[in-house]
Symmetry: C2
Subunit: 179 residues, 2 copies
C-alpha cells in the first residue's frame, strides 16, 4: 500500500513537472521576443496598428524610407504639442530599404517613384518614456530589432542616447508631427 501511494505521488509530481515544462515552452514561444540589452525593452504588441506621426527618407548608409508611429499617449502628446513627452509614450520607427518602383515608373513614364523594399538590418526602433527607469538617458529607453525581432547588441544600444542628445530641447526626439 505504501509503495502504491509513493507511486501515485511520483506520478503526480511528474505530471506537475510536465505541466510546468509545457507552460514554460508556451511562454517562451509567446515571448519569442528577446529584450533589448541595457534598456530591457521588448517589442510592444500591436505597434504596427499605431497612428502615424511622420515619414522620412534617410540617404547615405541608411538609405531607407521610414514611418514613425506613436502609441496613444505619444500621438496625443504630439497633437497637443506637449513637451516633455508624458510617461508611457512609445515612439516606433519602422524602416524599409529605399528602392525604385519599376511598375510605378512605367506609369509615370520616368524614374521618379521610390517605395519600401526589404527590411534593413535594424527594421524596428523604439523610444520608451519612463523617467525613473531611464533617468540616465533623458528619461528614454531605446531599442532596436531586426525583422526577426532579434535585438541589436549592447554596443549599438549604447550609441542611441548620445545621438539623440542634440535634440534635448525637444525632449531628445527628432521627429516632428506631419500635420
Amino acid at each position: 500500500m505504501r509503495r502504491a501511494k509513493l507511486g501515485s505521488f511520483v506520478m503526480v509530481l511528474t505530471a506537475i513537472a510536465a505541466g510546468i515544462m509545457v507552460c514554460m515552452a508556451f511562454a517562451a514561444g509567446a515571448a519569442d521576443e528577446e529584450a533589448a540589452p541595457i534598456f530591457g525593452i521588448t517589442i510592444p504588441p500591436g505597434y504596427r496598428d499605431w497612428k502615424l506621426i511622420s515619414v522620412a527618407h534617410e540617404e547615405g548608409k541608411l538609405n531607407d524610407l521610414r514611418a514613425i508611429l506613436g502609441n496613444e499617449v505619444g500621438i496625443k502628446a504630439y497633437r497637443d504639442g506637449k513637451l516633455p513627452f508624458p510617461e508611457g509614450t512609445i515612439i516606433a520607427r519602422l524602416a524599409w530599404k529605399y528602392v525604385a518602383s519599376e511598375e510605378n515608373n512605367k506609369v509615370f513614364g520616368r524614374n521618379q517613384s521610390f517605395v519600401p523594399g526589404p527590411a534593413p538590418e535594424w527594421y524596428l526602433q523604439f523610444m520608451v518614456k519612463d523617467s525613473r527607469k531611464y533617468a540616465a538617458t533623458g528619461g528614454w529607453g531605446f531599442a532596436q530589432f531586426n525583422k526577426e525581432g532579434k535585438p541589436a547588441d549592447e554596443a549599438l544600444h549604447k550609441s542611441c542616447f548620445p545621438c539623440h542628445e542634440p535634440a534635448k530641447a525637444r525632449d531628445f526626439v527628432f521627429t516632428r508631427y506631419a500635420p
Copy 2:
C-alpha cells in the same frame, strides 16, 4: 386688435426664418467640406487616425514624401492579401513637400535626412470602393483635396482613373503593403 395679431404673426415668421438661416449657416460650417466633382466624395472623418499601408517618395514634379493609410476594411484586405478590395475600402494618400532637415543633418554630419515640409497643392487623395456607384471607373471613386479641404476641379478628377488603369491586375491600386 387684428393689426396687433398680424404684427405678432410677422414677428414669429421672422424668428423662424432667422432660426432656419442660423441652422443653415451651422450646417455649412459643419460640412465645410465640398464634395469632389464627378465622384461626390467628401473627406472621410478620422482618416488621419487610420493605420499605415505604406510610405513613398515621388521625385520630379510631385517631389513629395507620402503616407498611404487605410480604413479598417482596407487594412484588413491588404493584410489578408484580398483582391479585389471589398466594398467600403477607402485608401487615403497624404503628401508633404520633400524637404531637407537641417537639424537632422547637423547630427548626422552630412546632408542625408529628408522630412515632410509644407502641404503640396493636392495634400489629400482618396480612393473609395463602391462597385455599383463607380462601375465606370473600376469600382473606385477618386477624390483630391488641398490642405484647406477644397477639392480639385473636374478636369483633374477625370485624370485619376486613366492613370490607375495600368494597375488593373491589382484592382487599380498601385500601393503595396509595407510589412
